[in-house]
């Protein structure tokens, strides 16, 4: 009997250890190292001293916190837009379609993700640039008489971000909406509700965990995105991850870069926590 117990324990250890090792080696240790690096300052060549300077730099130099603020606001906006576009799509896929058509539409949402994000972003660049497809099309139709530049602005960034995040909103929404019993919707109509009331009082409350988990995923992906804002935003892109990249790679300032990285982690967690509080959802419920 005791042998059984022991082997059960061993099995548990064997099962858990890859995960524990993974977490410790690739998540916990690097982050500890990053905190340590962020808390030092170069005083002379190859000499470092303890300092909070890298963190105070973020709050005292308007450039950095403004960049963060801009990134956060645009990410929230992108999340909202993605939700707005993805909700009707998901509802249509989950509730209005049956069988093969449903699968086909779902696959259509998935297909763009078979190529890498870089390729998708370059696709948008080909469409939007001054000598690109849209500009030529508009000229051909006679709507404009000279090339129009649609790339390198905030709208282009937004388009790219929403496009990139679409799938991560559609999947959780479709799953939660599918679990909603159709008879509940019918009952709501039978009891005299109109479209708006049914959506507001029956569909959305049921879909809330899906909405919130989709929003969290999209928000974090957008906030941590590097490629899309840099390539589509051009000279005014100003994304916080770009700032981190610059500190690490072109300025060799790992200390500042690590501090920015930790700040991004903490501040984005705070924003997600606020979002959960506002929507009265708990993290465990949303993620399971």
């Amino acid at each position: 009997m005791s042998q059984w117990k022991d082997s059960g324990k061993l099995g548990l250890i064997l099962l858990v250890s890859p995960l524990a090792l993974w977490l410790a080696l690739f998540i916990v240790l690097p982050h500890i190292d990053m905190v340590l690096i962020s808390l030092r300052e170069r005083v002379a060549a190859r000499q470092y001293a303890f300092s909070w300077g890298n963190y105070t730099e973020f709050f005292t130099e308007p450039l950095y916190w403004r960049t963060f603020l801009r990134t956060a606001v645009m990410s929230i906006l992108a999340t909202g837009l993605t939700l707005l576009i993805a909700f009707p799509v998901s509802f249509y896929i989950a509730k209005m379609l049956r069988g093969r058509l449903k699968a086909a539409l779902f696959i259509l949402c998935l297909i763009p993700f078979w190529v890498s994000e870089l390729v998708r972003t370059y696709g948008w660049m080909i469409l939007l640039r001054e000598t690109g497809l849209f500009s030529s099309l508009l000229q051909w139709m006679g709507l404009v008489d000279q090339p129009v530049e649609m790339l390198y602005n905030d709208v282009a960034i937004m388009v790219g971000l929403v496009y990139t995040s679409m799938l991560f909103m559609v999947v959780p929404l479709v799953t939660t909406l599918e679990s909603l019993d159709d008879s509940l919707i019918e009952a709501a109509y039978d009891l005299g509700g109109n479209h708006l009331e049914v959506i507001r009082d029956v569909v959305i409350p049921h879909a809330m965990p899906g909405i919130v988990s989709g929003c969290i995923v999209v928000f974090m992906l957008t906030l941590g995105n590097y490629l899309t804002p840099t390539l589509l935003g051009g000279k005014d892109s100003l994304w916080f991850t770009e700032q981190i990249y610059t500190q690490f790679i072109t300025r060799f300032n790992w200390e500042q870069g690590s501090a920015f990285g930790m700040l991004l982690l903490v501040l984005s967690s705070v924003i997600v926590w606020c979002g959960l509080k506002l929507s009265r959802q708990s993290f465990t419920r949303v993620m399971t």
């Binding site: 170069r42 190859r46 640039r129 001054e130 530049e149 000279k235 005014d236 300025r251 300032n253």
Partner: protein
């Protein structure tokens, strides 16, 4: 069980031995695009049996990569000569060059001496020259006739049609065009700060003229090719490449002086194939091989007699862009003292964030 263990240890050991053996036959080269053309790599492998593993990079990326591994992962790197001593002082990523293993006769001696001097740190030499060139202006002569100097990129006629990088060469170029001498101020932090402040203001004023800040060479070539950008600050080789496709576009040496750089060979501190690295250096400095690299990279090398084998077109392009007086006016980068790049970084950040 024991036998199995023994067997597997044996297999593991032999696998390790094999991999290290394979390793010794490979030269991991950290370099720029065009500096190790396939033809030259194949020829080297044929003659020496050593495989060359080429990683394309740039100055900042090289330092970052080597810093992350404390000088491991590559056997030979090619940073610019002005970026070696400060990186060595701060991060200790290179190893001194054993000059006795270099065939000095294959180098243009003035260039070799200058590079030895500029890459000396604590009495040891860390770099020997390979490819040299300049950065200046690439101009579409039909559409942007008036662009003769860096600051001409800010002419209102070119609004939204110019491009440059947000990196240190831009700061240096603009400083010269504004009548300053930034290289002379390298050792005077206060004076250098004043110059940078002046440049920062100019670059912020100029921002509305910029279509996009380019970051990779191909990106700029595409912007110029499509005609979306009429004038840019860029490397000479890019300008000549465009010139071969479209005679209207070419490289122009700015009035205040083109900025001259020399890319070197430097040994990462934990190089695993030092002998192969020296073999490669001596191999590519042969005039015939150097000429092939010039063809691929578009820039001339420090190989003595190498320019004899270069095709006449590139020479003609060079002579057109550089009348003799402009060659004398080239401003060669002196070694960057540590600390300056941090000041420059903040200026670049503020320019990037400014609203145009």
């Amino acid at each position: 069980m024991k036998r199995l263990l023994k067997k597997s240890t044996l297999i593991l050991a032999s696998a390790l031995a094999m991999s290290s053996q394979l390793h010794a036959e490979t030269l991991r080269l950290l370099t720029w695009g065009g500096y190790a053309p396939q033809e030259v790599v194949d020829q080297f492998e044929k003659e020496t049996g050593i495989k060359v593993d080429v990683t394309k990079s740039n100055n900042e990326d090289m330092i970052s990569k080597l810093r992350a591994t404390r000088g491991a992962g590559f056997d030979l790197a090619q940073p610019s000569q002005d970026r070696i001593t400060s990186a060595q002082a701060d991060f200790d990523i290179y190893k001194p060059i054993d000059l006795s293993k270099i065939d000095a006769n294959r180098f243009i001696s003035s260039m070799l001496e200058a590079t030895k001097k500029n890459t000396a740190f604590n009495g040891e030499v860390y770099g020997v020259p390979h490819v040299w060139g300049t950065s200046g202006l690439v101009v579409n002569r039909k559409q942007a006739k008036g662009v003769m100097d860096y600051t001409d990129l800010c002419q209102s006629a070119l609004s939204g049609q110019v491009s440059y990088r947000l990196k240190r060469p831009t700061l240096i170029g603009f400083a010269y065009a504004l009548g300053e001498d930034p290289f002379a101020a390298y050792s005077d932090t206060k004076k250098y700060g004043e110059i940078l402040a002046k440049v920062e203001k100019k670059l912020i004023d100029c921002k509305s003229n910029v279509k996009a800040y380019w970051s990779g060479g191909d990106e700029l070539l595409n912007l110029m090719r499509s005609g979306e950008v009429k004038a840019a600050m860029a490397w000479d080789a890019g300008g000549w490449k465009l010139n071969s496709e479209n005679p209207d576009i070419t490289f122009v040496a700015p009035k205040s002086g083109a900025l001259g750089w020399i890319d070197t060979f430097a040994l990462p501190r934990k190089t695993k194939a030092e002998e192969a690295a020296y073999k490669w250096i001596n191999f590519v400095m042969q005039p015939e091989v150097a000429a092939k690299i010039t063809e691929a990279a578009g820039n001339f090398t420090a190989s003595k007699g190498g320019d004899k084998f270069v095709n006449p077109k590139l020479k003609a392009q060079f002579n057109e862009s550089f009348p003799p007086a402009d060659v004398d006016n080239i401003k060669w980068y002196p070694p960057v003292p540590p600390g300056l790049e941090e000041m420059e970084g903040k200026v670049l950040d503020r320019v990037k964030a400014a609203q145009s």
